[in-house]
């Protein structure tokens, strides 16, 4: 799967997108997709389309770069986030979770047996902005 290259410094939540705060449970970069690990005090960790347990269900999008145990800012589905990557130049493009932890892709055809579909939203017209709206399958392909 061709992951989209996101530059963490370019990831900016847009006006009106409510930033919430949690605690990172591992090193997380701005622009990576996360879930909250109930087995580890609800700390944020990297989501993964072929991850085990809760890991394959995206819950939020990180908007800060934080190390393990540091505060982590994130947005929930419904938010708009500037991702500023050339891969997001086409409006309306759907975005999917990758099987590489935290990463995303625009190639749903790459999903293979054992992966959980995670639709992460669509690219908004202009500005390389993701309209974040996570929809996760509860059954593996």
């Amino acid at each position: 799967m061709a992951d989209i290259t996101v530059t963490p410094a370019e990831v900016i939540p847009q006006n009106g997108s409510d930033v919430k705060w949690g605690t990172a449970g591992e090193d997380i970069d701005a622009g990576e997709f996360i879930y909250f690990d109930a087995a580890d005090n609800g700390k944020a960790k990297l989501a993964d389309a072929n991850g085990t347990g809760a890991a394959h269900t995206v819950q939020a999008l990180a908007v800060t770069t934080s190390a393990d145990d540091q505060p982590l800012g994130y947005v929930l589905p419904g938010a708009e986030v500037q991702m500023d990557t050339s891969a997001f130049a086409t409006a309306g493009l759907p975005v999917f979770l990758s099987a590489n932890p935290g990463k995303c892709s625009v190639t749903a055809a790459d999903y293979t047996t054992g992966w959980y579909y995670n639709h992460l939203g669509v690219v908004k017209a202009g500005g390389k902005i993701l309209q974040f709206g996570a929809l996760s399958a509860d059954t593996a392909k």
């Binding site: 410094a9 900016i12 930033v19 705060w21 800060t64 190390a67 505060p71 982590l72």
Partner: protein
């Protein structure tokens, strides 16, 4: 530049008390001292001898994670505690920590780096590891 700014590892900096929230106006690394830039309302690196005097006297706290311009930033403000885990903050219990003349950096009192506005950032409350933030700013610059 003198050799004795506290040397920090960003990933080892852990907030130990609730953070305050602002927005970064520059690239900021966990453990750096931030000030409120009155011209933008964003947080930028504190600097004891910053060319803009208004920025020297508005220390808000210590960044708790990395952030880039425009991103949200959580920081430990006045009264808070933060693990800085510096190998150079070897000072003794209760050593006072000052803002350095290196943007974002801290130093101890014997470093001759306390030029411009002498701003106390806090004190080390367990040698080398944990800083209690207690900001006190000079009313006027000296030296440099």
């Amino acid at each position: 530049m003198a050799a004795s700014d506290y040397s920090l590892t960003a990933s080892e900096v852990i907030a130990l008390s609730p953070c305050e929230i602002g927005r970064a106006g520059a690239t900021i690394t966990a453990g750096q001292v931030v000030v409120d830039d009155p011209s933008t309302g964003k947080l930028v690196l504190a600097d004891a001898n910053h060319a803009t005097a208004a920025i020297c006297g508005r220390v808000k706290g210590i960044a708790a994670h990395n952030a880039s311009d425009g991103q949200p930033l959580a920081y430990v403000g006045n009264g808070g505690r933060i693990r800085i885990d510096s190998t150079t903050a070897t000072g003794e219990q209760n050593e006072t920590v000052y803002l350095s003349d290196t943007p974002g950096a801290m130093c101890s009192s014997d470093d001759a780096k306390m030029v411009g506005f002498s701003t106390v950032i806090g004190h080390v409350d367990t040698a080398g590891a944990i800083l209690t933030v207690q900001i006190a700013e000079a009313a006027a610059a000296y030296g440099n």
